[in-house]
Every structure is written in structure tokens, then in C-alpha cells.
């Protein structure tokens, strides 16, 4: 069976498969690059353009009548018809504040544009990948063994929705894998057996993944298991919507001020492009002291209207290094802006642009994740991933910050794991994991990166202005393994037949010791985050409408990597009677 590794990224999608000689091949994906022009490229930009009728069909070699397009052509159309282009669908997929199955993208579209849900957009990307594989290489993705990557910070609902999108796209055998783990798998595959020399028992690998739109941290510990080295993912960070795009935007903003001219969206996009190239040149070792930035105006007349400014090495140092990678004290937490009363329903972008502060926050929050004493988690190795991390200067900056904190607690400095493949590691690593599952290579263990809780209202007389006390019932412990299940028989709940019953749902990425069935007051737990609510409806049929049925909860972690919750009746009317609880409900 063909194995495929798919990196469904916020800004780009990439696919890896096994070549005939067993090597890893990143597949070129045919896509529309401009009107009537198809090209196969290794990266499929995660953009979707909803064509206007005047555009005609967005024809592909395998579909002449398509009304939307995915990939480079869609990304480019985003410059001149931004209200019809969907970007960052993946960030919406993990946004618990909206109903992710409802057609809400693009946000700024006019009334007559047919919108799509974040789930459908992801489905369309994966569908394009499947079609491109079939058209370009004759690979049948439907029957292939597909490893699909998700951010480590994706909660149970976002994972479930990702699988829903994959199934809709016709991918029948999907397994989820956390992106930082995929990056480490790629590194392991590249090192071959030599990795056993690079890592020793007691090592903690910090994976720092800074992509275009998101930043993701994970910690993976090296343990000993029956005399052999074993890897275990011990901590994951929070979902941080902050990445290389923020840096380019900031640079473009600085240049726009220097140009002292109002730019249109087209010019601004050109400026952004120029700033990205300038950033890469200026951050490179031995790069130039200044890079000219030129921005062409829209019309056919190129001369006379083209604007010119420049970015210098000093400016890059000030803007990128001081703005995004400032030196911060041990234990600093990211700054959270006070929330305005009326907050638009946009994406929850990170308030704090400093990646070093987010890293410091992660290490402090996860201080005891690998059994240490604190006050911070002490990584011994660092694996960098993501396009931004291609810059040696930025890697050194982050490593320097980390080693400063480690020195402050008297720990040995951490070393970088060399030989990373910053851009395509996640797709490659997903493939390596797919092959490792077939018994060829080491596996990282870990289970769920969070513990999950259902909120149960206590029985107390109502007091005006005071929220009734809420108990949290642990339904899935931290590190719950794929293929396992647990039942919370002690907590009896009543569900009304025919009426949707909704529960509040919570998760924690630090409460490692709660067993399933543990119950405690929410007031005593500071370290749980509320997730989108969950809902179950008992259908009529065996039972009478309006009856109250006593049930208990059962949780399962599927082999795919998704969490399933069920309401099971204490007195079943038939064998195996149970009802699935839907994750992520939101109006």
C-alpha cells in the first residue's frame, strides 16, 4: 500500500511519498498558477479562490468546469480580488469561538459570494491534493495509508474536524500526527541509526516550529525502555498565531512609512514580497548591509511610477531581532492585552509578538513535564523547524535566549540538532512515521497532549449574580494512548430524550495526574482552558420523548488519533446501545 505524508499547513501544503528506491520524494502538485496555466510545484499554497462568473471556469486538466481554484493561482488572486480569497483556513479550524462547520469564509466577501466553512476549505485542499496525485503520478490517495499532520496545539475538536475534512476529500485511511513530532521523525530518518549517538537517555528535545502563520513548541524526552532508547512527547505548547508573515508585515509597514505614500493592496503585496526577500538576504551570514526595496505601481507604465527605498542590516536587527526575538528574563510570560468588550469575531492572533516570551512562557508552564524540579523545563537539545528558522541568526538568537535561562538555573546549555530540513520536514516526517508504523524505525510515544474534562453543574440553590458551582469530571487523562478507552461510571448524568443536551468542555495541557473519572471543583483549578461546548441528542425510538435517561460517559482515543465521547445508558434497551457526543458545537 502506498504511504503518503501530508503537511496541511496554514500557508502551504506539501506531500511526501516513497520513491521506488525507498527514498523520500516530495511530490510536485499540479495547480492553476494563472488563468489557463497549470504547473506542478512542490508546495500548494493553502489558498482558495471563489471565482466570479466573469472569470469563467477555473479549469484543471482533470476538471474543466470547476468554479473555485486552490494553490498558487488562488494566492495570486488574493492580491487583486482579496474578498473572494480564503487564507488561513487552518487557523479558523482551530478557533473554538466560531462554529467551524458553518459557511463563514471569506469573512469580507460580498453578499453574493457563496461562503465555505473552515472544514470545507480544508476538505477542498485535501481533495486537490488527492486529484493532483492521481493526475500527476497515478497515486490513488483514497486507498493509500495517509499520515496527516496537525499542530501539536490542536485540541480534540480541531483534530476531529481535520479528520472530517479528510474523509470528505475521500481519504479513507488517515492517521493524525503532531507537526513537531513529524519534524523530529524527519530528522531521525535523515540521521539513520546515527541518532542513537546524538541522543542519550535523559535528553529532552525542544522542537521549535516557526512557520508562516503559527509557532508551535513541543518537548520530547529520551527514555529507556527494555534497554533501548525510547522517545516520548512530554509537553506541547499553546496555539500561537504568530509567524514569519507577521515579520514581513511589520517590515512592509516600516517601508511604507519610509515611502511616505498611500499604497494600494497590489502595491502592498509587492512590497511584502520585496520585504520577505530583503529579510532573508539581510539575515544571512555575510549578507549585504542594505537591500533596495522597489515597488512597482499597478499600471502598464513601469518607469516613473516605481517606488524605491531600502532596508538595512541595522533595521532588520532592530525590527526582527528586538521586536520578535527580544532578550527576556527567566520566567517571563507573554503579554496579554486586556480584551476590549466588543471583540470582532476574527482570528485570535497572538497579542505578544515576541517569540522568546512565548518560549519562556512554555518552558515555565511545562516546568515539570519531564520530571524536573523547575522553575523551567530544561531542554538539552533543540530541533528547529519552519521557514523562518532557516536563518542562522534567528536560530542562534533563540538558542542564546534559551541557554541564558538554562545558565540562570545552573543547567547545561542545550545544543542544536543539526541537519534539519526546515521547509519540507513535516511532510517528510509524516511519511517517515507512516513507514515507522509498519515496523521500520523508532516511534515517538505520547498519547493525548491534554487531559479533557466535562463540566457538571453541582446541585446548589440559585443565588442571583453568582454562577452555580461547576465540577470538572476528567473524561480523558493526559497521555491517553491510541486505541484505549475509559468509562466514568461513577458520575451519573441524566439526558432528556429528543432534546439536545449540552455540556461545557475543558482541556488542560499541564494537569498530568488526573485519572479518568476524577472530579473536582473548577474553582480550585486555574490551569484548565474552556473549549467549544459538546452536545448529545438521544433520538426517539426505543424511548419516549421527554423521558430522562440515566447515562454515564465513555471516552475512546481512536487509532486515527481523535477523541470520541459517548453517552452510555445504565440500562441499555439493546446490546451496545450508546450515543456519540458531538465535539465543537457553537452557534
Amino acid at each position: 500500500m502506498t504511504t503518503l505524508g501530508i503537511d496541511l499547513g496554514t500557508t502551504h501544503t506539501a506531500v511526501a511519498t516513497e520513491g521506488e528506491d525507498g527514498s523520500v520524494v516530495v511530490v510536485d502538485l499540479p495547480q492553476l498558477v494563472a488563468r489557463g496555466s497549470v504547473e506542478a510545484r512542490p508546495l500548494l499554497p493553502s489558498f482558495l479562490y471563489l471565482a466570479h462568473e466573469s472569470d469563467g471556469p477555473q479549469a484543471l486538466p482533470w476538471d474543466e468546469t470547476r468554479t473555485f481554484s486552490v494553490g498558487e493561482g488562488a494566492r495570486a488572486r488574493g492580491l487583486d480580488a482579496p474578498t473572494r480569497v480564503i487564507a488561513s483556513a487552518k487557523s479558523w479550524l482551530s478557533h473554538a469561538g466560531v462554529d467551524r462547520r458553518s459557511a463563514l469564509l471569506p469573512r469580507e466577501a460580498a453578499e453574493d459570494v457563496e461562503r465555505l466553512s473552515p472544514v470545507e476549505v480544508s476538505w477542498r485542499y485535501l481533495e486537490h491534493v488527492a486529484e493532483a496525485l492521481k493526475h500527476g503520478r497515478g497515486i490513488d490517495a483514497a486507498s493509500a495509508d495517509v499520515v496527516l499532520t496537525v499542530p501539536a496545539s490542536f485540541d480534540a475538536a480541531a483534530r476531529e474536524l481535520t479528520v472530517e475534512a479528510a474523509l470528505a476529500a475521500g481519504l479513507e485511511n488517515v492517521t493524525l500526527l503532531e507537526e513537531p513530532q513529524a519534524a523530529l521523525y524527519a530528522w531521525l530518518a535523515r540521521r539513520g541509526d546515527a541518532w542513537r549517538k546524538d541522543l542519550r537517555v535523559g535528553d529532552v528535545v525542544l522542537v521549535v516550529d516557526v512557520g508562516g502563520g503559527t509557532t508551535d513548541f513541543s518537548a520530547i524526552a529520551v527514555r529507556e525502555d527494555d534497554g533501548a532508547l525510547a522517545l516520548e512527547r512530554v509537553a506541547v505548547g499553546q496555539h500561537i498565531l504568530l509567524g514569519g508573515d507577521n515579520m514581513d508585515l511589520f517590515l512592509a509597514h516600516v517601508c511604507e512609512e519610509k515611502l511616505d505614500q498611500e499604497l494600494g493592496p497590489f502595491e502592498r503585496a509587492g512590497l511584502l514580497f520585496a520585504c520577505r526577500a530583503a529579510k532573508e538576504a539581510l539575515l544571512a551570514d555575510g549578507g549585504p548591509d542594505a537591500v533596495p526595496i522597489t515597488v512597482a505601481k499597478r499600471g502598464a507604465k513601469l518607469l516613473g511610477g516605481t517606488l524605491r527605498t531600502e532596508l538595512t542590516r541595522d533595521e532588520i536587527a532592530r525590527i526582527i531581532l528586538e521586536g520578535f526575538f527580544p532578550s527576556v528574563e527567566l520566567g517571563t510570560q507573554p503579554i496579554a492585552r486586556p480584551r476590549a468588550a466588543l471583540r470582532s469575531m476574527g482570528l485570535p492572533y497572538a497579542d505578544d509578538a515576541a517569540i522568546t516570551r512565548h518560549l519562556s512562557g512554555f518552558l515555565t508552564r511545562q516546568a515539570t513535564a519531564s520530571g524536573g524540579e523547575g522553575p523551567i523545563l530544561r531542554p538539552t537539545r533543540v530541533l528547529f523547524n519552519g521557514g523562518v528558522m532557516k536563518s542562522t541568526r534567528l536560530r542562534e538568537r533563540l538558542l542564546g535566549a534559551l541557554n541564558g535561562w538554562l545558565a540562570a538555573v545552573g543547567a547545561e546549555p542545550a545544543r542544536e540538532l543539526e541537519g534539519a530540513h526546515y521547509d519540507l520536514a513535516v511532510a517528510r516526517g509524516a511519511l517517515a512515521f507512516g513507514l515507522a508504523r509498519k515496523g521500520r524505525g523508532v516511534r515517538i510515544r505520547g498519547g493525548t497532549a491534554r487531559s479533557y474534562y466535562v463540566g457538571i453543574e453541582g446541585n446548589a440553590p440559585a443565588i442571583p449574580g453568582v454562577e452555580p458551582p461547576l465540577d470538572l469530571l476528567c473524561v480523558a487523562p493526559f497521555g491517553m494512548e491510541e486505541g484505549s478507552a475509559s468509562e466514568m461510571q461513577s458520575a451519573e448524568l441524566g439526558v432528556v430524550v429528543g432534546e439536545p443536551v449540552r455540556f461545557r468542555f475543558f482541556g488542560s495541557s499541564v494537569r498530568r495526574d488526573d485519572a479518568s473519572g476524577a472530579r473536582f471543583s473548577k474553582r480550585r483549578a486555574q490551569d484548565v482552558d474552556e473549549l467549544a461546548p459538546i452536545e448529545v441528542t438521544l433520538p426517539e425510538g426505543e424511548r419516549t420523548l421527554g423521558d430522562v435517561v440515566p447515562v454515564y460517559l465513555r471516552s475512546e482515543l481512536t487509532e486515527v488519533g481523535t477523541l470520541k465521547l459517548f453517552a452510555v445508558p445504565h440500562a441499555p434497551k439493546k446490546d451496545g446501545e450508546r450515543w456519540e457526543i458531538e465535539l465543537s458545537v457553537r452557534e
Binding site: 499540479p30 494563472a34 489557463g36 504547473e39 506542478a40 479549469a59 502598464a300 524605491r308
Partner: protein, 185 residues
């Protein structure tokens, strides 16, 4: 076949063809049926990388040329630049515009194939050209006379495009539109 073996075979055939009528007729049939001998392969020229020999010449496609033009316009405003009268603009303006065109067209070109020099020596240096060099990759200029090997000054390193892949044009689209007009609503 070694030379002595060939000599013996030729000798034997010579006499049999001369004196054995039936053998001569059969040999003639075989000779006619033989595929044409492959052209002698010229010795590769030293210092000049061997060009991959094209299997057959691709039919000249105006579509591919238009796709390339559209690509250079899209990424580097190539047609805009060529079509504007630049005579009245000061060099600074031309320079600024040239950066846009250079950066974009270079990105487009490098993103779709590799351009590499044919001769590795530095321009202006003396180089040796053996006799029987590949005339497709190297051209003698100046006082061209005599038989090889030659010695001369490298004037231009030459360029070769490797693995160029252009966007595939779709049926039903007019490739002569290298950039549509744009009207903002």
C-alpha cells in the same frame, strides 16, 4: 571486435564473396537489412560539459513561447518594461524599474529551470579547444582558420538551460493574452 579478429573476418569474407556466389547473395541480403550504423560519437571536448542530446526536436510551439512571456510578465513585468518608451527617463528611474524586472524575471527563470554556463573557465582567460569539439556548444570567433587543436581567449562562457518546465497551457484559453486588462470595481 578486436582489430585482428576483424582483419581475419574481412579476409575470409573477401574470398568467400569473391568465389562463392550463394554466400555473396546471402551476405548482400543481410547487409541491406542491417540498421544504419550509428554516427561516430565525437570525443567530448575537455572543459566543456557534455550536453544531454535531445531525443528528437520538440515541435516549435508558439504556445510555449507565449506561456514564457506571460510568466515573465506576471512575475517580473517584462512586457511592461519592453513596451514602455524609456528614452525620456533618467537612468535612476530605469535602474529602479530594472530592479523590479530583474528580481521578478530571475525568480521566474530560476523557479522553472536551471541556467548554467557552458564553459567553466573565466572569461578573458586563454583556453584550449581540441579538434573535433562540439560545434553546438562552442563557436570559434575572430580569425577562424586552420585545423585543431586551437588556443584562444574565452569571450563568453555561454549558457545552457537545464530542465526547463513551463506552465502547461490549458485548452480553450487564448495564450496570446499574456496579461488581461484590469478594471477595479
Amino acid at each position: 571486435m578486436s582489430f585482428p579478429a576483424r582483419l581475419f573476418f574481412a579476409w575470409a569474407c573477401f574470398f568467400r564473396v569473391l568465389f562463392d556466389g550463394a554466400f555473396a547473395a546471402r551476405a548482400n541480403l543481410v547487409r541491406d537489412a542491417l540498421p544504419p550504423a550509428p554516427a561516430p560519437v565525437p570525443e567530448p571536448v575537455k572543459e566543456v560539459k557534455e550536453a544531454p542530446k535531445p531525443e528528437k526536436r520538440a515541435p516549435a510551439s508558439i504556445d510555449a513561447a507565449l506561456q514564457l512571456l506571460a510568466l515573465l510578465q506576471r512575475e517580473g513585468r517584462f512586457v511592461d518594461f519592453l513596451e514602455q518608451d524609456i528614452t525620456t527617463f533618467p537612468d535612476a528611474d530605469v535602474g529602479t524599474a530594472a530592479r523590479v524586472v530583474h528580481e521578478g524575471c530571475r525568480r521566474a527563470l530560476h523557479g522553472h529551470g536551471k541556467v548554467e554556463p557552458i564553459h567553466e573557465a573565466e572569461e578573458g582567460k586563454k583556453v584550449d579547444v581540441p579538434s573535433g569539439f562540439d560545434a553546438a556548444t562552442l563557436k570559434l570567433v575572430g580569425n577562424v582558420s586552420g585545423k585543431g587543436p586551437y588556443r584562444g581567449t574565452l569571450q563568453h562562457r555561454g549558457w545552457r538551460v537545464v530542465g526547463l518546465s513551463l506552465p502547461e497551457g490549458l485548452a480553450g484559453f487564448d495564450a496570446t493574452i499574456v496579461a488581461p486588462a484590469e478594471v477595479e470595481l
